[in-house]
């Protein structure tokens, strides 16, 4: 896996691919090498006493996936469709998580040139899980860090 991503980045060290998604009005990007799949969230089992961000667990082709409500996680008003909500599947040390978002967008290849650090006045909750932003035509894409999203303790401390 290490050598695989090496060849990817050598193509153009200044470009990275992102899976994009919207939550509320905001557009986000997740590094494509961290994304396993995108799936429809169906038949979620609630996990009592869990963090409010956790929607529950579901069966995705025999794997148990913990589904996280990204709207709640980021403190954004969600505009999820009632039917067939989508989630982006990510892996963390052998465990599967699904990041429940409003809508999945296309995969974008973005150059380093459009990238900036988080604006100083960025919402603290967002800033805690983002590693920068990209200026796009007419909108701004916030780059999310998967490890920080899954770092619940950090969220709890911040709250």
């Amino acid at each position: 896996m290490g050598s695989g991503s090496l060849t990817m980045t050598t193509r153009d060290i200044n470009e990275r691919e992102y899976v994009t998604a919207t939550i509320g009005e905001q557009m986000f990007g997740l590094p494509i090498d961290r994304v396993q799949d995108v799936f429809v969230v169906d038949r979620v089992t609630r996990v009592p006493l869990s963090q409010t961000d956790v929607v529950g667990v579901m069966n995705l082709r025999g794997r148990i996936v913990t589904v996280i409500d990204m709207g709640r996680r980021l403190g954004l008003p969600s505009q999820r469709p009632e039917a067939a909500p989508m989630a982006i599947g990510v892996d963390d040390r052998g465990e599967s998580y699904g990041l429940l978002i409003d809508e999945v967008g296309e995969v974008l290849t973005l150059s380093h040139e459009t990238r900036e650090a988080n604006p100083a006045n960025l919402d603290a909750t967002l800033a805690a899980v983002s590693v920068g932003v990209h200026r796009l035509d007419g909108k701004v894409l916030v780059v999310l860090d998967v490890d920080r999203i899954l770092d619940f303790e950090r969220k709890l401390n911040a709250a």
């Binding site: 038949r43 979620v44 089992t45 609630r46 996990v47 009592p48 006493l49 869990s50 963090q51 956790v54 529950g56 667990v57 579901m58 069966n59 082709r61 025999g62 794997r63 148990i64 913990t66 040390r93 465990e95 998580y97 899954l150 619940f152």
Partner: protein, 887 residues
């Protein structure tokens, strides 16, 4: 792909270490067996072959120290095989050599090099033993079975490392039975899970060389993955079956049936691949016991039964250490010294017995010894010294309860630290390990005869049998291991939920079971948060703790494949994992240990000792309801007498005819005070204990309900005040035991007082009750009514009296008694007395319609509630006179 030479050596060495580690463990076991059965040539053959194999490989890998050691040991074994007498000295020496080999191997594993050093201290004596028997040492090998094609030979070896001749010899002598460095093994070593020398193949396989040869090593990861795939397959199959059930398309039926059975077989096969005989966990024990025997100077025999009993390898790994610990304990603390045993006229050699058997999805392992048994006094003192219990607790606790204290965290009986056990790690750690795999442990011990530890563990952690329940619209799985029984509760039925303050309890076979609503525990949206009066109760047993989980619905029991919880959810502590149900939905598996911890926190406030009402103690404890009314002195009534606990709205209390009354269930219920200082409240709610016999009820006004306590009821001071039976020490508090009968008399004004003794003094009532409390309570009542009373504490005693000619006018018998119960007693009396119409009444504190029928069927004439004095006297009078006339 050509590999660097160093890598080749690494793989070989790695393989060598794994195999040798296993072989040495087997040698340990076999040697000890051999020492006991010196004439068993087969065992010696096994040992010899194993050591020989190790030696051959050592030479090949250029490990001169190991080679020299194994060579010397092999020579001695060769002598033994040729008929030299087997001495303890020789066996000890060989075992010491094996230990040295293990030490060298440990270094080799880390550094890939033999540590420097000489082994003359061992080789010398070995050679002397070998030389002591005529023939000079020579390589004897009956197992050369021809030349093996050996491809490793063709690889370049470091020049001068091993001579070709030497190699030839080694290969020729390497027996086929042990596929040590065959090409297949080398190739497989790359597939292997992280190197683990402790992982061992069954010793049985070694005895059946063909089996060993046909087995391969598969990484645990591979098996786990297979398991996941199989469960996925099962799921898909279930979905297909569901579809086929809905559509009457017969075309699919046959192939689907076939798919179904193949899937089932596959699932079973994969499960089986994970199973290992428990004997693998015992492999080190014979050697251990032998060494302990020598070290402690005690003769110890180890007997094992059921070593072939299979269980999941994961469970096997986890149970290994606790077992070793318990065997150590038995040898060190359990068994007496040989001299002491002889003095006690016990067999001089102590026995440790280890047995395993399957029992309904679980495996029961028993470790017992015929030693001195647990020292109850010592445990008690120690527990008090360590503040685990108070002295008052200690006095009240039964021996069994005291014995169980050894499982309490921080408890260790070893007053002297020995090299064998008592290193500060005690049975509490063992219990903890067993708890973690969902198992239970208990102890039985008889002073002077020995102790037995009984461990019950699930066969596998991967697939468990679970009860699926529903609460607040969500489903949960409860491991079947923790489920003791299921009870359905409805208001007004035999099993109804009662409240002590805010704590719901269920009266189950005269014991109170603390209840907790699963939905509330998990903070789900439970509709009626305040009270629960109906539902299903899952009686859950965790270690010594027993509680009831109230759920809305029960489904079925299902075999579920346990998947671990996501690490982000583990902190919740209430769930042990997740599983996918047959319909594809995910279900959370409740962790009974986690729930028990929470229940302990919110449940009854009685201390831990009281919180084990389930365990059968020798002295039956009486559950008492402790309360305060008026004075600060604690008061209590036997819980079995209390019908309900009510909070009555003070506005509904009226005064009628100079007495406090309240409308209760459509009738007027008199309210009484047990103490003049106890005032009936004028506002808010008034707690009341309701006593009823079905037709009439009375309420006793109390200030405060303290707790439900369970204790032996020994009335120390007989009451001088009316309405108080006497005082007793209940859980360390002096407590007045209230005479409910007195108040019943007051409540139903004069019914009792008005009765004058009319019976002749010769009329004798036989009262059979194992409870001193009830004997004490009823005797004065009966005497006051003019009868003589003969009391018996057991049915057997009473029966004996009847057989020897005693003829009372009436027999009153309790129903629930140890040994022979009231029903058996009645049957026996009827059989004994034939046609005699001697009236018999059953006494019970808790009547149910079913019980009444059984009581009649057994031969009782009637059923009387224990506390209902008037009814009792009236019944006796009615029957006794009738019988008297008839007689």
């Amino acid at each position: 792909m050509p590999m660097p030479k160093v890598r080749v050596m690494d793989d070989l060495l790695r393989e060598f270490l794994t195999e040798t580690g296993e072989n040495l463990d087997t040698v340990d076991v076999e040697l000890v067996r051999f020492e006991q059965e010196p004439s068993n040539a087969k065992i010696l053959g096994n040992v010899f072959r194993l050591v020989h194999t190790i030696k051959g490989t050592c030479g090949f890998l250029d490990l001169p120290r190991l080679e020299a050691l194994t060579h010397a040991a092999e020579t001695v074994m060769g002598k033994l095989r040729d008929g030299a007498p087997v001495t303890t000295e020789a066996v000890s020496l060989i075992l010491a050599t094996i230990d040295r080999i293990k030490e060298i191997l440990a270094v080799l594993e880390g550094t890939e090099r033999e540590p420097p050093g000489r082994d003359a201290d061992l080789i010398g004596p070995l050679e002397r033993i070998a030389a002591g028997h005529a023939e000079p040492p020579q390589q004897a090998c009956a197992y050369t079975t021809g030349t093996l094609t050996y491809q490793v030979l063709e690889r370049p070896l470091r020049p001068g490392e091993v001579s070709l001749d030497e190699l030839e010899r080694v290969f020729r002598e390497t027996p086929v039975e042990a596929p040590l460095v065959t090409p297949a093994a080398v190739a497989l070593s790359k597939l292997e899970a992280p190197f683990d020398p402790s992982e061992s193949t069954a010793s049985e396989e070694r005895e059946e060389p063909r089996v060993a040869q046909s087995s391969i090593r598969v990484g645990v990861d591979t098996l786990e993955q297979l398991m996941t795939m199989v469960s996925e397959l099962v799921l898909t199959r279930n979905q297909l079956l569901e579809i086929s059930r809905r559509n009457d398309d017969s075309e699919f039926k046959t192939p689907l049936q076939r798919l179904s059975s193949v899937t089932a077989e596959l699932q079973e096969g994969v499960m089986k691949a994970r199973m290992q005989p428990i004997g693998n966990a015992w492999q080190k024990l014979p050697r251990l016991v032998r060494d302990l025997s020598a070290e402690l100077g005690k003769g110890i025999d180890l007997q094992t039964f059921g070593a072939e009993t299979e269980l999941d390898r994961q469970v096997l790994e986890l149970i290994k250490d606790p077992l070793i610990h318990m065997v150590r304990n038995a040898a060190d603390h359990g068994l007496e010294s040989t001299a002491k045993r002889q003095a006690l006229s016990k067999p001089p050699r102590g026995t440790i017995r280890l047995s395993a058997r399957h029992e309904g999805g679980h495996i029961i392992i028993e470790i017992s010894d015929d030693g001195r048994g647990l020292n109850v006094d010592k445990i008690r003192q120690k527990a008090i010294a360590q503040n685990l219990i108070t002295e008052a607790d200690a006095v009240k606790m039964s021996d069994v309860q005291i014995q169980r204290l050894i499982f309490t965290p921080g408890f260790s009986t070893a007053s002297q630290i020995t090299s064998i056990s008592g290193r500060g790690v005690g049975m509490d750690v063992v219990k903890n390990n067993i708890d973690q795999i969902g198992g239970t442990i208990d102890v039985r011990s008889v002073p002077g005869e020995g102790s037995a530890f009984i461990v019950k563990i699930p066969l596998t952690l991967a697939i468990i049998s679970a009860l699926i329940v529903e609460t607040a619209g969500e489903r949960f799985a409860i491991p079947q291991l923790a489920v003791a029984e299921l009870v359905r509760c409805r208001a007004g039925s035999e099993h109804c939920i009662e409240y002590i303050k805010d704590a719901p309890v269920l009266r189950l076979r005269n014991k109170l079971l603390p209840l907790i609503h699963l939905g509330m525990l998990l903070k789900l949206d439970v509709k009626d948060r305040g009270t629960i009066d109906s539902g299903y109760v899952v009686v859950t047993q965790v270690g010594n703790q027993r509680f009831g989980l109230v759920v809305d619905g029960l489904f079925h029991t299902e075999e579920i494949v346990v998947k671990p919880m996501a690490s982000k959810l583990r902190h919740i502590g209430m769930f042990s994992g997740t599983a996918i149900l047959g319909d594809g939905a995910v279900i959370m598996i409740l962790d009974p240990n986690g729930v028990a911890e929470k229940v302990g926190g919110v449940g009854s406030q009685s201390n831990d000792v009281a919180a084990e009402p389930n365990v059968a103690s020798e002295e039956p404890a009486t559950p008492l309801l402790a309360f305060r009314a008026g004075s600060q002195a604690r008061k209590a009534v036997p819980l079995s007498l209390v019908t309900r606990l009510e909070e009555i709205d003070c506005r509904s209390i009226e005064i009628s005819n100079g007495r406090h009354v309240v409308q209760y269930r459509g009738r007027l219920m008199p309210l009484l005070r047990v103490d003049d200082d106890c005032n009936i409240r004028s506002e808010g709610t008034q707690p009341v204990l309701v006593f009823s016999d079905g037709s009439s009820a009375m309420g006793i006004v109390v200030d405060d309900i303290i707790d439900i306590v369970e204790d032996r009821l020994a009335i120390d001071v007989t009451g001088e005040m009316p309405g108080v039976i006497g005082s007793a020490i209940i859980k360390g508090h002096a407590t007045e035991i209230i005479d409910v009968g007195h108040y019943l008399g007051l409540a139903f004004d004069g019914v009792f007082r008005g009765t004058s003794p009319t019976a002749s003094a010769t009329q004798d009532v036989m009262l059979v009750d194992d409870s001193a409390f009830f004997r004490d309570m009823l005797t004065p009542v009966l005497k006051a009514a003019g009868y003589d009373v003969s009391t018996y504490t057991s049915a057997a005693e009473a029966l004996e009296a009847l057989r020897s000619g005693h003829r009372p006018v009436v027999i009153l018998s309790d129903i629930e008694m140890p040994a022979m119960d009231g029903l058996q007693f009645a049957t026996a009396v009827r059989a004994e007395l034939g046609d005699s119409p001697l009236p018999m009444f059953a006494l019970s504190s808790h009547a149910t319609p079913g019980l009444m029928e059984r009581v009649r069927a057994a031969g009782f004439d009637a059923f009387v509630a224990k506390f209902d004095r008037q009814a009792l006297i009236a019944k006796i009078r009615e029957h006794a006179t009738a019988w008297d006339r008839a007689a």
